[in-house]
Symmetry: C2
Subunit: 341 residues, 2 copies
Amino acid sequence: MATLLNSSFLAACRGERPARTPVWLMRQAGRYMPEYRAVRRELSFLELCRSPERCAEVTLQPIDYLDVDAAILFSDILVVFDAMDVVVEFRPGPTITTPVRTHDDIAKLRFGDPDAELGYVFDAVAACKRALANRVPLIGFCGAPLTTLSYLIEGGSSRDFEHTKRLMFSEPAVFGRLLESMTDLLAKYLLGQVRAGADAIQIFDSWAAAVTPRDYRTHILPHVRQLIDRVRTAGVPVIMFARGNAALLEQIATTEADVIGIDWSIELDDAIRQIGPGRVVQGNLDPMVLLSNPDTIRRRVLDVLEAGRHAKAHIFNLGHGISRHTEPALAKLMVETVHAS
Amino acid sequence: MATLLNSSFLAACRGERPARTPVWLMRQAGRYMPEYRAVRRELSFLELCRSPERCAEVTLQPIDYLDVDAAILFSDILVVFDAMDVVVEFRPGPTITTPVRTHDDIAKLRFGDPDAELGYVFDAVAACKRALANRVPLIGFCGAPLTTLSYLIEGGSSRDFEHTKRLMFSEPAVFGRLLESMTDLLAKYLLGQVRAGADAIQIFDSWAAAVTPRDYRTHILPHVRQLIDRVRTAGVPVIMFARGNAALLEQIATTEADVIGIDWSIELDDAIRQIGPGRVVQGNLDPMVLLSNPDTIRRRVLDVLEAGRHAKAHIFNLGHGISRHTEPALAKLMVETVHAS
């Protein structure tokens, strides 16, 4: 890590204020880039996730084009199911053909060994590191315990998380044991990514807003805390991104996460007020702003940067994944605006 | 209205504390009730919405079974498009086959006359009032300007509101004029419902969370305020329910809404702290609690009631529509628990 040519992202993770505010974009390697679409004409999404060299190729596309300050492994939070004999299909939304609903389903679940079964992810991390040649750090990631488990129980994306919450409300002990096993698997998975070379980790609790703040505190937060603590023993910074409910921010602020990801549903200065000025924040431009025009984009980027000054340190990012309808040139303009100010 | 046999709901709307906390459920006339499913075997959803006498029948089903303190007109926020020559199909999600995207689409839009074109809704209101025979008050409703417009622009439900926000960010003046026309139409529509007999109005901003708090304040809130003010001139209480982002509550609290609906994404006592103790609140049990068991339901209902004591007055409700997988007996248990405490 000492040899990184651009370490502004890791400096900000540590709470420093590098000369330029570091910036990367959630889903920066993706469908808005013609180079990515070209690769996807050859490979399905899952084939790509399982091809370490092609993952590295795709991971580096936005580094070359956008000049962002961090790379994030091209992968998906659901590939972890490969260590559980759970089959995910993308149609194009993720679909799990055998959702886990009954006691019988739960009894049959196998929480396997990421080291033995997710080798292709670790190979992809290593391939990315080689390809990056220390230009910028590499972020590894996983889904948070609730988010990952909810896919397993619902069988895909969900609006109301009916099955997950039915289990949580009706059989909290069973639900807790499932989250515990999931957390253990995810911790091993992330530690494997760090061993393979990841310089930082982001945990995506994409469906944190599935439950009330009270239920998050009671049923979910202890597992999030556990996961963060275990990954931090490996010495890399952890970014915790719980999306969709600003009312959860004060809970996230009680964890040891090095960086707190802020989605666009709250103004960044309000978020910083809630979590206190001593934390590092990441975020939070509404990705749809990038569908507008250069003037609007510049103005909104500067507003987010200004708000970010109230935090200990700030990593500029979108408040959610970049839209696939974004013109790459406008994403680049965003990065340039951050770097220039 | 003087002759209402049960006026606890309207008393609470006025800020009074009736002997029993009034309670009704969002989507209380719906698929979880076998009586409703029986009607739907005869009529499609839209046929039902357009049949005043059958609407009244369905509207009264939960009054009879649950003993709730208010009826809400059985209808849909999208029937207002019948005054715009916009065709909605339910497949089963709402689909608008001619979404409004281009300047050309916008130029062709017609904001018609609810009095002339939505007569069947007013007839349904009148039929409900007759059938209710003053047992409980009747709530009329509509979608908020943003929510209604977003269906028109997106062509249905949306996750990221790409088209709506592209327009808002790129052409705020055009977007503002659309919202203005929509607000005017919705105001006329609600005033028509009041003239037909509705005793209160609820405005559903189901997709309020589509935009950032800042954009809601700039682009959306003025229209919400306008709509509320116009309906209040008719002398009925207005419930404003903006769903999905607790960070918007303080903005909603700046309107003249008589009652502020609280969804389940925030704890009710925290919501009351944010909007101040001088407001009437409605909410906010997580509907998925009703999928659990009697003990859990009783406990969670009492917790919400306890939190509600911090407000000026409290109308008990769910924090979102009741799930169609709810056992009717458990919904009834919820109502009994509210009434008994």
